[in-house]
């Protein structure tokens, strides 16, 4: 996967799965229907703001709460290209990667990046560049197999692996 570039849309600490996709919408299996309600619990203007800003930057424990995969699905199909946070909750982290939504833990990112800043994320090299501020934060480089899952999702990854056997 190549680097991702775009503007930051910022949220705080502890953004949980219930605000990302409220429980009442879990009756839907259509990804586009889920996407219509993404972040509805925390920011009714999320979809409007997402117009030009495609990278979510958040504080600690992003995605805490339920195991609902509908949470990263709603964000991905709403148009989010990548999520950067100080830290992620365990199940959300794995779910996002498994559905092919790029996600990266980056310590103190929420202190160092402003809302609307232009960012460039290099997964392989392990860095987040804030083009607006001309600063660069280091992250752990993402290993190749994980990049491959992030890019195409676990379903395609498993299929490809089976086909190769």
């Amino acid at each position: 996967m190549d680097a991702i570039q775009g503007k930051a849309l910022k949220y705080g600490d502890g953004v949980n799965t219930d605000v990302i996709i409220p429980g009442k919408y879990l009756i839907y299996t259509d990804y586009k229907e889920l996407a219509k309600h993404a972040m509805e619990g925390i920011d009714p203007n999320f979809l409007k703001k997402l117009g030009e800003r495609k990278i979510i930057v958040a504080g600690t424990n992003f995605g805490c709460g339920s195991s609902r995969e509908q949470a990263p699905i709603a964000l991905k199909y709403a148009g989010v290209q990548c999520i950067l946070a100080d830290s992620f909750a365990r199940i959300f982290y794995r779910n996002a990667i498994n559905i092919g939504l790029p996600i990266l833990e980056c310590e103190r990112i929420s202190d160092n990046v402003g809302d609307g800043d232009e960012l460039r994320i290099d997964f392989k090299g392990g860095s987040v560049e804030d083009i607006s501020k001309r600063t660069k934060l280091k992250t752990n480089p993402v290993p190749d197999f994980l990049l491959e899952i992030m890019e195409k999702g676990l379903i395609e990854y498993m299929k490809d692996k089976r086909d190769k056997i």
């Binding site: 502890g14 949980n16 219930d18 605000v19 409220p22 429980g23 009442k24 879990l26 009756i27 839907y28 299996t29 619990g41 925390i42 600690t60 424990n61 805490c64 709460g65 339920s66 195991s67 609902r68 995969e69 509908q70 699905i73 830290s87 909750a89 365990r90 199940i91 794995r94 779910n95 498994n98 559905i99 999702g153 676990l154 379903i155 498993m158 299929k159 089976r162």
Partner: protein, 418 residues
């Protein structure tokens, strides 16, 4: 090795594993419910899945949308019914035959030392009988349905030693709320939590389920209690024999050790909008309530209903307050009828609902309007969790919820101890 490392070593066919190791483990049981299974089955098909790896080890429970509240819900149920039939799954818990998925797993399936995954975050409940159990997402459980295996990082473990006794009405729920208040919502992210000490050893398996259930609220991967005589008694009564204990080694290592003393512990309340915003009920202040809920995978068991009934017996739910009681399973329901608990609830003005998850996650039954306040024995008080984002949710033990239902404001259950 500690108990988590020992279970992971066994499941991955290794003699020795330690925190940080990546292992591929054989899964003993995989559980899904009606809001996570539909996505999982879609992923299973797209992965090229034909038959599940073991039809006796895949368990599906309908509990989140029970009975179906919309035609979409009914359709999700139909998809699962069709799948269970086509795959000849041995365990499919349809409406009226089961209850809340974690309760069903603990009543009929979980054994000590097993490695279990569930597509629901509160799967960590099963540590109550000494199993390793954790919640995963739908796509990931689809890969388990295919292969019967999953990779894990062996978690760093915390040993929480709880000394002293829990003095009723202080309950296991108060202990876990206190613990989450200490750790905070991300204080145990990725870690395994081992509960030990006098208070845990004196705790029933029902109570151990409550404390293991909520470790995910501080980010943990699993919670576990070493099996003992109480575990044996529970499993035998449930006809879950034969089983084998896995216990920790004499020199088990933990990344962190915390020691608590419960002698002075009061009833605790998690104040909105987060589960880690915990204070003693005496410090919550004057809070009027509109709704009181007793139920869920956290606190909908017989022991929970019993203590609530003791407080509600011969009393009435306060005017303008609505109270719901939700037995966690059909079995709990029948036992509660046998003990006169349901009779007490109905006479007190409590609406007794069928076993389901509904109000806890805001999907179905008993939702809140903007500006309303609820006290609940459930597990999350996030903004919008039980309906309107403008409603307030306080979490507490069944005793505190019942006491509050009677007075109409958040109340220390000691007021009813006379």
């Amino acid at each position: 090795m500690n108990i988590i490392e020992k279970i992971m070593a066994k499941a991955s066919g290794r003699n020795d594993v330690h925190a940080g190791d990546i292992v591929e483990a054989k899964i003993d049981k995989a559980m899904m419910n009606d809001i996570t299974a539909p996505l999982a089955l879609e992923a299973f098909e797209r992965m090229g899945g034909d038959e599940v790896w073991n039809k006796d080890r895949v368990i599906i429970v309908l509990d989140h949308l029970v009975p179906a509240n919309t035609d979409q819900s009914a359709n999700l149920h139909r998809i699962l019914r069709t799948f269970a039939k086509k795959q000849s799954l041995k365990y499919f818990y349809d409406i009226g035959r089961g209850g809340v998925c974690h309760q069903i797993m603990m009543e009929n399936h979980v054994k000590p030392g097993e490695m279990i995954v569930g597509a629901d975050s509160h799967t960590c409940t099963y540590g109550a009988v000494g199993a390793f159990a954790t919640g995963i997402g739908s796509t990931e459980i689809a890969s388990v349905l295919l292969s019967g295996k999953l990779w894990f990082k062996v978690p760093k473990a915390v040993n929480i030693i709880v000394n002293g006794k829990l003095n009723p009405p202080v309950a296991p729920k108060d202990l876990i709320l206190y613990t989450i208040g200490q750790f905070k919502a991300d204080g145990a992210t990725y870690m395994g939590i081992n509960f030990s000490g006098e208070a845990v050893h004196n705790m029933s398996v029902d109570g151990r389920m409550t404390i293991c259930n909520m470790v995910v609220e501080m980010g943990a991967k699993n919670g576990i209690v070493e099996p003992d005589d109480k575990t044996t008694e529970y499993l035998k009564a449930r006809r879950l024999a034969p089983f084998e204990f896995i216990n920790e080694d004499p020199k088990a290592e933990y990344d962190r050790v915390e020691e608590y003393d419960t002698s002075g512990l009061e009833s605790m309340v998690a104040v909105p909008p987060s589960v880690d915003n915990v204070r003693p009920v005496s410090e919550v202040g004057n809070v009027d309530i509109d709704q009181a809920v007793i139920g869920s995978c956290t606190n909908g068991r017989l022991e929970d209903l019993r203590i609530a009934a003791r407080i509600l017996h011969g009393r009435k739910v306060k005017n303008n307050v609505r109270a719901l009681a939700i037995p966690a399973s059909q079995e709990v329901y029948v036992d509660a009828i046998g003990e006169g608990i349901i009779d007490t609830f109905v006479k007190a003005g409590v609406l007794v609902c069928n076993p389901n998850c509904g109000p806890c996650y805001g999907g179905h039954l008993g939702l809140l309007a903007a500006g309303e306040t609820c006290i609940s024995s459930t597990n999350r008080n996030f903004i919008g969790r039980m309906g309107s984002p403008k409603a307030m949710i306080y979490l507490a033990s069944p005793a505190t919820v019942a006491a509050s239902a009677v007075t109409g404001k958040i109340t220390d259950p000691r007021a009813f101890e006379a």
